[in-house]
Amino acid sequence: MRFGKVAMTFFVCLGLLAGVGTFTFGYGKGASYLSNNPETCINCHVMQDHMDSWQQSSHHHVAVCNDCHLPHDFVGKWVTKADNGFFHSLAFTMGGYKDPIQIKPRNQRVTQSTCISCHKDFVHPLLPAIAGHDMLSCVHCHADVGHAGR
């Protein structure tokens, strides 16, 4: 099979894209986003304070970022990771996000569900009788468990 000059040029460009793309993925520590490592969250330095305060917190022996900020079921975890991954990158690239950073209602619900996921045997008398019914947010009072001294 023979290609014309135009097609050859195109494939060279495609190769360049593949190369630059792979480099960018590596340089941007793309693979780390598939892991559970808390260091990943400070790839973008905006999260440095959150990392520092987590290290002071009572939970840092037992829980990393993902344990509190991603749902514990497989689908929920990866959907949330994709959702947050996209919007965090967008915010960090374009700038203009709130500072101090504010948690979105969706992520607040995620955090609440992960608190309960680990502590449900202990707190079940406090849980709402009707599924999805209103209840106090755990971190409203226990604000320091994940990020001490903020």
């Binding site: 135009v6 894209l17 941007g28 500072d99």
Partner: protein, 523 residues
């Protein structure tokens, strides 16, 4: 289908694919560059490119080292206007907005022109053109706060102390002894005289031309007024504050919001309380503001004075003024009792509250919780990967996210509503106190016209002074009660009470049997 048709179709496809690949490559490279830039941000951001020293009153060279802070500082010229205070390009006249202020300040320069304040970078220029300064002879003491004046104090002080004065010697160290001596030496001079002295001090930028007495330019408060040029550490430079805070430390006023004073007292109150060695960094983040945002006496009958001998509450300050007498020309006599101005409508000698932000903040919940002035007015922000304290000093209401939401995790609207509620309530109380004060003026004028003697009016004048002092204390304080809402309400309630007592006193005079001719000494 012909071959040429086929060829042009595949060329079309190829063009489309090429476009897609080009666009994707463009995007990927853009992201790559962005990631690179963000990684660069995370590196050390501060490079000292020029030296600044103790005469660098011009903020420009500091700006080369600290571009972010300098740019913020320059923004203080055009702040937004908030419902209560804040800044404005052409600041609105308070006298037009609140006509009662004209009567309150009758006989005082503030009745001529009184506008909303603009930011730090404009404060000297604004002072030079206000009709309070152009139409009335003002004291040089005003420049204690409006100008970057410390090197001038040092130069004059060094001359007085017989030290050699050269630009190099001036730049060498802070030399507090000389600064204090210079401060005292110019305290009785006029505004124009002290302003001329400012321009005889080198500012680190302007080079003197042969025969020109001006070595530098006059600058508004700038970097050097709060920072040590060698270490960039926060520091207090103003002699008025250094003397005042020492008086406060030596009082027995409880100051739970200033732990270093409590510590200093506990250690036996030895020597002088020096904020630059004794205070914590968090305290200094309020003290640097308290160098100027306070109540003071600023005219030429005595040195600029912060009245903190008894404490920081409104009655503590009042008690100091009550017990102060002006220095007498004749050393054997006690001088005339202290007053700021003679109220023109009623002839009463009264006090003028300046802008006691530091004092009112001291009574509030934020101070008690360890929140400094800078925490709300210069909140930390991230610029790139660096955390800096914003030098765009302004109303927290124009910056709720950074100023309030670091601690208060509720919506911006909820925060704004709470602040509005406090400020509206205070404002309504101010209106009531103002109505009471103006009725009191009418009652005293009427009593004088009906023939009341100065002796009969003495207790009424005392009430008048107290009522005016309290109203002015809150009306001229720049937070409309927010710095300490309950305290503001208490002070305004007292003002209303004193005004009404004075009015009742006037009525009693009128109902007394026709003014008896004064019998000897009825005092």
């Amino acid at each position: 289908m012909t071959t040429s048709d086929n060829r042009s179709r595949s060329l079309g496809w190829l063009a489309l694919l090429t476009g897609t690949v080009a666009a994707t490559t463009f995007g990927v490279v853009a992201i790559l560059v962005n990631i690179f830039e963000r990684k660069q941000e995370a590196r050390t951001p501060f490079v000292r490119v020029v030296e600044v020293d103790e005469v660098s009153t011009d903020p420009k060279p500091w700006g080369l080292n600290f571009p972010q802070q300098y740019e913020d500082y320059l923004k203080t010229v055009d702040d937004e206007y908030t419902d209560y205070g804040g800044n404005h390009a052409l600041p609105p006249s308070k006298l037009e907005e609140y006509p009662w202020l004209k009567r309150l300040f009758a006989g005082y320069a503030f009745s001529i022109e009184y506008r909303e304040a603009r930011g730090h970078a404009h404060m000297l220029a604004d002072q030079e053109v206000t009709r309070r300064v152009t139409e009335v002879q003002q004291a040089g003491a005003c420049l204690h706060c409006h100008a970057s004046i410390i090197p001038t104090y040092r130069r004059i002080g060094m001359e007085q102390l017989g030290q050699e004065v050269t630009a190099a010697k001036l730049a060498e160290s802070f030399n507090q002894e000389a600064v204090m001596a210079g401060f005292k030496a110019v305290s009785q001079q006029t505004y124009e005289e002290v302003h001329a002295e400012l321009e005889k001090t080198p500012d680190g930028v302007v080079e003197a031309a042969a025969g020109d007495p001006h070595l530098g330019n006059a600058h508004p408060v700038s970097c050097i007024d709060c920072h040590d040029p060698k270490t960039m550490a926060l520091r207090v430079t103003r002699p008025g504050f250094l003397i005042g805070i020492d008086k406060l430390a030596n009082s027995d006023d409880p100051v739970p919001h200033l732990p270093s004073i409590a510590k200093w007292r506990k250690a036996g109150s030895k020597g002088t309380y020096d904020p630059n060695t004794d205070a914590t960094r968090q305290e200094l983040r309020s003290f640097v503001c308290g160098q100027c945002h306070v109540e003071y006496y600023c005219a030429n009958k005595m040195t600029l004075t912060f009245p903190w001998s008894n404490g920081l509450k409104v009655e503590d300050l009042e008690a100091e003024w009550d017990s102060t007498t002006f220095p007498s020309e004749n050393a054997d006599e006690t001088g005339e009792p202290f007053y700021d101005y003679v109220h023109k409508e009623t002839g009463t000698k009264v006090y003028k509250a300046q802008h006691p932000e530091f004092e009112l903040w001291s009574q509030g919940i934020h101070a008690r919780a360890g929140v400094s002035c800078a925490d709300c007015h210069m909140p930390y922000e991230k610029v790139g990967a660096t955390k800096v304290s914003s030098h765009w000093v302004r109303s927290p209401m124009t910056n709720i996210n950074k100023a309030c939401q670091t601690c208060h995790k509720v919506s911006e609207q909820e925060i704004k509503d709470r602040v509005d509620l406090i400020q509206h309530r205070t404002s309504d109380l101010i209106d009531r106190a103002a109505a009471a004060v103006t009725e009191m003026f009418d009652a005293i004028i009427a009593a004088r016209e009906a023939g009341a003697s100065d002796e009969q009016l003495k207790p009424i004048r005392d009430l008048q002074r107290k009522a005016m002092w309290r109203l002015d204390f809150i009306a001229s304080e720049n937070s409309k009660g927010f710095h300490a809402s309950q305290e503001s309400a208490r002070i305004l309630a007292e003002s209303i009470d004193y005004s009404r007592q004075a009015i009742a006193g006037c009525y009693q005079l009128e109902s007394e049997p026709a003014a008896e001719p004064a019998k000897g000494d009825a005092s």
